[in-house]
Amino acid sequence: MAETQIGRSAAFFRVEGTLLDRGPLAAAAWLASNAQGVGERIARLGNVALAAPLAFAGELRTGATSTRVTWMGLRGMSEDRLVILAEEYGSKYVEGEVLEIGAELLKKARKQGRQIVLVSDNIDLVVAPLAEALEADDLICNRLEIRSEKATGRLEDPVIGGNVSGQWARAFAQEHGIDLSTSWAYGASGADSLLLSAIGQPCAVNPDRQLRRLARDHEWPVVEK
C-alpha cells in the first residue's frame, strides 16, 4: 500500500481565495446572526466581530488566534442548529459560488491524476459539502468542539489558522505518501506563502498584494481572472 503511494502527486487548494470568496469570518457571522432569539444573535455577533480586527492585525492574522476567536461566538449554540444552518449557508453562499478560476485549476489537476487536497480554516460543517461536490480526496479544515450536543466555542486540535505551515504540509505528505516536489499548491493571500513555499509547484491565484510580491520574487506562476 505504502509503495503505491510513494511519489504520488497532489494538488493543494487553499479554499479561501482560490475556490471561494467568502472566508470563515463571514460564515461565523452568518451563523451567529441566526442564533435562537434576538438577544442571543446580537451577543454572538458582537463576539464574532471581535475577530474582525484580529484578521487585519499583523502576526495575529496569520496565526490560529484570529481563527479561534472567530468561532468563539458560537459557544453554546446547539449542534442541531449549527448543522441545519450550515446546510442553509452552503446552499446560499457556497454552492454555485465556486470561483471559476479555482474550479478550472481543480479540474485540470484531477485530469492530471493528482490527489486533490482542500485546505480551509472554515469549519467542516460549511466546507465538507463543498469538498464532496468537488470530489476532493481530502479536506483539511477546522472542527467545532461539541459537548452535550452544544458547541463549546473551541476548535478541535489541530487548528488550521490563517497560516498553514510548511511543516504541516510535509507531515501530511509523509502520512499520505505524497511527493511534495511534484505536487502543486494554490493560494491567494500572503498567509498562504508558507504552504506554497513548501510545495514543489506553487501557484498564486488572484493573489493579494503580499502574495503577488512574493510570487514575483520567487517567480511563481500567477493565475488571474
Binding site: 441566526n34 442564533a35 435562537q36 432569539g37 446547539s78 442541531d80 448543522v83 441545519i84
Partner: protein, 571 residues
C-alpha cells in the same frame, strides 16, 4: 395441542394480573429471554393461516398496521374489519375508499397493481358493519357466533384520541367500545384480545413507567374500584347539561385520581376494567405519541391532526415562548415503528407468549427532549417558509425562532395582554360611530364611509384575533401537563426483548427500531414537512388530497391479455 389448550385455560382462569411485569408463559411462570427464544417460531409462522378481527382500521395507526400486515405477511388467512357506517356511507364503501385511496395502502397498490390488489383485498378482508358502542357491537348473538367461529384474536385499535372531548363520547369510545370488543374476544376459541391503549395512562407520575398495570390503583396511589368509578362518572355526566359542565366534572374526577385529562382518564379506566376480566387473555399495547412515518407507507405520511401538528402550527406563527421544560422528553414514535411493533405484539399474542403490557416509545432508548424539539421545529419552519412562504413568512416568521420558556399563569403564555387589547378594541369599535364623533364637514372630507368600513373590518379582525388567541390558550392549557409538568420515561424492555429474539430478516421488517432515529433528520426533513403536507392544511380548514382512483394500468391489462391468451386458445 392439548398442552397448549391447557396453558390457555390456565391463563384465562388464573388470578388477576396485578402489577405483573415479568415474562410469562401460559402458566404464569417466568421465562428468560433465552428460554423463549428456544421455543422459536417466526412472526410469519405466527400469522400464517390466522384470522384476526380488527377494529379501528379507519384510524391512522390501524390503517398503516393493516397495510403492513397485508404487504409483509400475506400468509395471514383473513382479517375481518369492524367498521361503523358514517355520513350515509356504509362500512363496505368506507373500507373500499380507504383501501383504494388512502396513502396507507399506497405501497401495496404499487407493488401488486390494481387487479391483484383488489383480489388480495377480496380474498383476505371481510368487512363487517357494526357499532362498537353497542353491546356485542350491535350484532345479534347468532351473527356474532358465526363471525367469531374461527377468529384467532381480536385486535382493538379503535378509540377517541381527543384530549378534551365530551366525556360521555370518550367513555363510549374508549371504555364501552373496548369492553364490547373484549366481549367478542371472549367468544372466540383463543380468547386473545390485543388492546391498543396509550403510554399516557401513566397519569401524573414523573418517573420511569414500567410495562405493567396494577388494577385498582390510580397514578397518585389512591385505591379505587374501576367499575364503581365508571358508574359514578357516567351518573355525574348525565346530570350535567352543558358540554363544559360535563368536561369540568370529568376533569375533576380525573385530577382527583392523578390523570391530567379526559383522554388519559378514559383510556386508563378502560385498561383497569379490561385487566379485571377473567374471560379474555389481554395483551395491552401502549404507544406514545404516534407521528409521521419514516419509511412505511412512505416518508412523511401522517393523517389527521395528531399531537404535534397543533404545536408545530403554533410555533409557525408569531408565538415564540413555548411553555415546555427543556429537559422533559417529547416521546415521539413514527407510525411505522408503532405498526411494526404492533405486528410483533400480535404475533406474540398469537403464540400465547405475550407479556401483559408492551410500551412503544422513544424516551427510554433515544430520548428527544423539548429543548431539541423546539429548536429543531424553529429550524424546520424556517426551511418550510423558505420553500413555500410569502414575503412576511420568509422575512419575518422564518426568522422568529421559538424558545422554551417557563409559563407565567398571570400572563397566560404571554398572550393575555394582547387578547385583552384585541377585545377592548373590538368592544370600543362595535359601538363607535364615526359620524357621531366628528363634524359632518370633516366626515365628508375624509370620506367617512370608507373609514367606517375600514374600522368595521378592523373590528372583525380584532374579534378573530381574540378568538384565535383563546384557542391557543386552550390548546396550551391542554398540553401543559405533558410538555411542562410531568417528566415521563416509558420503559420499552418487552419490545426490546422481543426484537432480540427475531431472526435478522424479521428484525429488519418488524424490529423495534427507535434507536436508529436521527432526530435532527427526522424532525427537519420528515416530521415537519410531513405535517405541513398532511396535517397543517386541516388546521387551516383545507383538504388533504386522497390518492388518485385505482385504475388498471395499460401494462397490467397487457399482462393479463398475455396470460389469458393460451386459455382462450384452449377454450
Amino acid at each position: 395441542m392439548s398442552e397448549e389448550t391447557g396453558r390457555k385455560e390456565d391463563r384465562v382462569s388464573g388470578p388477576k394480573k396485578n402489577g405483573t411485569n415479568g415474562r410469562r408463559n401460559g402458566n404464569g411462570h417466568s421465562l428468560g429471554a433465552k428460554g423463549i427464544a428456544l421455543e422459536g417460531g417466526s412472526i410469519r409462522e405466527a400469522f400464517a393461516g390466522k384470522h384476526l378481527l380488527v377494529t379501528g382500521v379507519t384510524g391512522f395507526l390501524g390503517k398503516v398496521w393493516l397495510g403492513m400486515v397485508l404487504d409483509y405477511l400475506p400468509e395471514i388467512r383473513r382479517a375481518t374489519v369492524i367498521i361503523r357506517p358514517k355520513k350515509g356511507e356504509d362500512a363496505n364503501a368506507r373500507f373500499q375508499w380507504i383501501a383504494e385511496r388512502s396513502p396507507a395502502f399506497r405501497p401495496l397498490r404499487a407493488k401488486l397493481g390494481a387487479k391483484a390488489f383488489r383480489k388480495l383485498i377480496h380474498d383476505k378482508i371481510r368487512v363487517v358493519e357494526a357499532k362498537l358502542v353497542e353491546p356485542l357491537c350491535g350484532l345479534e348473538e347468532h351473527e356474532a357466533d358465526t363471525l367469531l367461529a374461527d377468529v384467532d384474536a381480536v385486535v382493538h385499535f379503535a378509540g377517541l384520541t381527543d384530549f378534551e372531548p365530551d366525556p360521555q363520547q370518550a367513555i363510549d369510545a374508549n371504555i364501552h367500545g373496548a369492553q364490547h370488543a373484549a366481549d367478542l374476544a371472549a367468544r372466540t376459541h383463543g380468547k386473545r384480545y390485543i388492546h391498543v391503549s396509550t403510554t399516557f395512562v401513566a397519569g401524573r407520575r414523573s418517573e420511569t413507567i414500567d410495562e405493567s398495570i396494577t388494577v385498582g390503583v390510580a397514578p397518585n396511589g389512591t385505591a379505587f374500584d374501576p367499575a364503581e368509578e365508571l358508574r359514578i362518572l357516567e351518573a355525574g355526566i348525565a346530570e350535567r347539561e352543558t358540554k363544559s359542565q360535563r368536561i369540568d366534572y370529568a376533569m375533576e374526577r380525573a385530577n382527583a385520581l392523578g390523570w391530567p385529562n379526559i383522554y388519559t382518564f378514559s383510556k386508563a379506566l378502560s385498561e383497569h376494567l379490561i385487566e379485571s376480566r377473567e374471560d379474555v387473555r389481554t395483551t395491552t399495547f401502549r404507544p406514545a405519541i404516534v407521528e409521521c412515518a419514516r419509511t412505511y407507507p412512505f416518508e412523511g405520511w401522517n393523517e389527521g391532526i395528531n399531537t404535534s401538528g397543533p404545536l408545530v402550527w403554533l410555533l409557525s406563527t408569531t408565538f415564540q415562548r413555548f411553555p415546555a421544560r427543556t429537559t422533559n422528553i417529547f416521546d415521539i414514535v413514527p407510525v411505522d415503528t408503532v405498526a411494526r411493533s404492533m405486528v410483533v405484539v400480535v404475533a406474540e399474542a398469537l403464540r400465547d407468549r405475550a407479556e401483559s403490557v408492551y410500551q412503544c416509545g422513544s424516551s427510554a432508548i433515544n430520548p428527544f427532549n423539548f429543548r431539541r424539539a423546539v429548536d429543531l421545529t424553529g429550524l424546520a419552519i424556517r426551511r418550510m417558509y423558505a420553500r413555500r412562504g410569502d414575503d412576511f413568512e420568509k422575512k419575518v416568521l422564518a426568522k422568529l425562532d421559538p424558545i422554551c420558556a417557563e409559563p407565567d399563569p398571570n400572563e397566560v403564555f404571554g398572550h393575555r395582554r394582547m387578547r385583552l387589547m384585541a377585545r377592548a378594541t373590538r368592544n370600543f369599535l362595535r359601538s363607535f360611530e364615526l359620524r357621531e364623533n366628528i363634524s359632518p364637514k370633516l366626515y365628508e372630507k375624509i370620506d367617512g364611509e370608507k373609514v367606517d368600513q375600514k374600522l368595521r373590518k378592523f373590528s372583525m379582525d380584532c374579534r378573530t384575533t381574540d378568538r384565535k388567541l383563546g384557542q391557543v390558550n386552550d390548546m396550551l392549557r391542554v398540553y401543559l401537563p405533558f410538555v411542562n409538568e410531568i417528566a415521563y420515561v416509558f420503559s420499552t424492555d418487552n419490545l426490546v426483548a422481543a426484537t432480540e429474539r427475531m431472526s435478522e430478516e424479521e428484525r429488519a421488517l418488524f424490529g423495534f427500531d427507535v434507536e436508529t432515529i436521527c432526530w435532527r433528520h427526522y424532525w427537519v426533513n420528515i416530521q415537519v414537512p410531513g405535517l405541513d403536507k398532511w396535517s397543517l392544511p386541516l388546521l387551516r380548514n383545507e383538504k388533504v388530497p386522497d390518492d388518485p382512483p385505482l385504475e388498471v394500468t395499460e401494462a397490467e391489462a397487457a399482462r393479463d391479455d398475455n396470460e389469458d391468451a393460451p386459455m382462450r386458445a384452449t377454450a
